[in-house]
Amino acid sequence: MSFVFATAQYESGDWDSAPLVPSNVLDSVARYTQIAVEPTGVIVSLGSSDLFRYPFVWLTGHLPVRFSPAERDNLRAFIDRGGFIVVDDHNHDIDGAFHKSATEEITRAIGALEALPNDHALYRCFFTFDGPPTTSHELNGWGDNLIHRELHAVRRDGRIGLLYSNKDYSSEWNYHAANKRFLSIDNTRFAVNMVVYALTR
């Protein structure tokens, strides 16, 4: 009954643009918590019934996203039944192709995104943050060069079902876990909050 990190594979776009995020997040969860984890992540097709084996799913990409009908139906059922999916804009660009198309698809499939208050339980359920932690990529000259002050979410019964980020955590956490030792503060701590929130709410 270990925690499994699943990366969503969808038919359009570049779903595999951050291949080191799963192992890095799993390393942090194992390092800081008592939660049992599977040492490697899995890849699950968003349009297949296998999606319902993995309640925590990570979805990212740079390119435009167009969900197939099966992907859209699965996403809706997944959220309604209690699944948790993180969608991260790998472009960190609110005027970019991924953001515009992904938010359209999300709205069509499960409803409009709403801003998540920065005092939400997500930011306090393990480590304490005063909002979504800033990434080193937000002002790197690419993307929109904005510090994105908040995350967005689609909720079901008060619980986050889909968490949407323009922070580009896919770039921020896409490195080998062994290199954390060169960081003064581990920048993947917020990923632990995401996992703990998903498991406890």
Partner: protein, 395 residues
């Protein structure tokens, strides 16, 4: 002469004002005492278990308190709050039973007003004075059990490490109207959720993983005082809980169907419940067993990863919720209004638990406001002295 009188008046006035200040300063501090209105309700006492405590609690019983009430008051007393009780009719409604075992005939003598006589099938009637009843007449209860005591508590506590199983159990029970709290061990030394458990707050505890020895002992006390305890296979890692479990669990049994998305509970993997204790009852062949421990019940469930059932389909989500409701209903604390009636000496039990009853305080006599009087006199003296000086032209 006049100025000498003025000096005397001024001096006396200042002394009077000082005295008034001193009296006001020494006003007695009323200790924090809260009296629960009579008759106290289960909800009142449950709220008491949650609000910041005062120093003492006075409960007024009108008639014999039920088992729930006694347990809740005892839990509050156990938390270090001085509990006293007032006798407002306990004696008058107490009955005395004499039973001749050889003939099976008993006699009931009522010390005071009418009492309701009932047996397990329901009420037999209301008697006043003495009555010979053929056969067993227990339980006898005073008055009618307050309806609040019959309202089942639907509060549960889930304990373990964060997992999909615990999360879906919480959601499934909440969807069915239960109020659920969770206590998660997030990291070594980091625990989120309630740190104590008692029957005043929770009806049932669901333990999915091994818990620390302190919490295991608390759960043991909880179930023995009437709480319900549901144990998952992982909970048996705690020796204290393994000792009270209805049985043990064998190795994981995974069918071919359990490898696919489950459409039914039968598709789920499970650990068979084996080596049932003599006093245990199998509620579901090989998967669920239960036994009584003290006044509570312990249910051992061999199903693992039932969340897969809930995530697999919409009917599965509904069925998963219904299944867990059935499990906790089988275990949960049920207040039994007639338990205390089986107590041959209910008043003695109350005295043993909470000491002799205290007398209702005599109405306090109105206190003379000495400080106010002295203040007025002092100010009047100062004003008189000041006016006298002004009238004779002095500064």
């Amino acid at each position: 002469m006049r100025s000498r009188v003025e000096r005397i008046v001024r001096t006396v006035a200042w002394i009077t004002l000082a005295g008034a200040t001193g009296l006001a300063w020494r006003s007695p501090v009323v200790p924090a005492t809260r009296a629960v209105s009579s008759p106290p309700s289960v909800e009142t006492l449950a709220r008491w278990a949650l609000v910041p405590p005062a120093d003492s609690l006075i409960v007024t019983f009108r008639g014999l308190p039920g088992d729930t009430m006694r347990s809740q008051v005892a839990a509050i007393a156990g938390a270090g709050i001085a509990v006293q009780w007032r006798d407002d009719g306990v004696d008058a409604q107490a009955g005395e039973v004499e039973l001749d075992v050889s003939t099976g005939r008993g006699a009931l003598r009522v010390a005071g007003g009418p009492v309701e006589v009932s047996d397990a099938a329901g009420a037999l009637g209301v008697v006043d004075g003495a009555l010979v009843v053929p056969g067993l007449v227990l339980p006898v209860r005073a008055g009618v059990v307050p309806s609040a005591e019959l309202v089942p508590s639907r509060r549960a506590l889930v304990l373990g490490t964060p997992s999909w199983e615990s999360g879906w159990i919480v959601r499934g029970l909440e969807a069915a109207g239960w109020s659920v709290e969770a206590r998660f061990v997030l990291a070594p030394g980091l625990v989120a959720g309630p740190s104590a458990i008692d029957t005043a707050t929770f009806a049932v505890a669901i333990v999915l993983d091994r818990v620390e020895p302190v919490m295991a002992r608390a759960l043991l006390a909880f179930v023995r005082s009437g709480g319900g305890l549901v144990l998952g296979p992982g909970a048996l890692g705690a020796p204290v809980l393994a000792q009270i479990a209805p049985g043990a669990v064998a190795a994981l049994a995974r069918s071919a169907a359990s490898l696919a998305l489950p459409t039914d509970r039968a598709d789920l993997a499970f650990r068979p419940v084996v080596r049932l204790r003599a006093d245990a009852v199998a509620l579901d062949t090989a998967r669920i067993a239960a036994r009584r421990e003290g006044q509570g019940r312990v249910v051992l469930i061999g199903d693992v990863e039932t969340w897969r059932w809930a995530l697999a389909s919409d009917p599965g989500r509904t069925a998963h919720s219904a299944f867990w409701v059935r499990v906790v209903e089988a275990a949960r604390y049920r207040p039994l209004g007639d338990r205390m009636a089986g107590d041959p000496a209910p008043r003695a039990s109350l005295v043993a638990a909470f000491g002799p009853p205290v007398q209702a305080p005599a109405p306090a006599l109105p206190r003379w406001p000495w400080e106010a009087m002295l203040f007025v006199l002092g100010m009047a003296g100062l004003m008189t002295e000041w006016a006298s000086r002004r009238m004779r032209g002095a500064v």
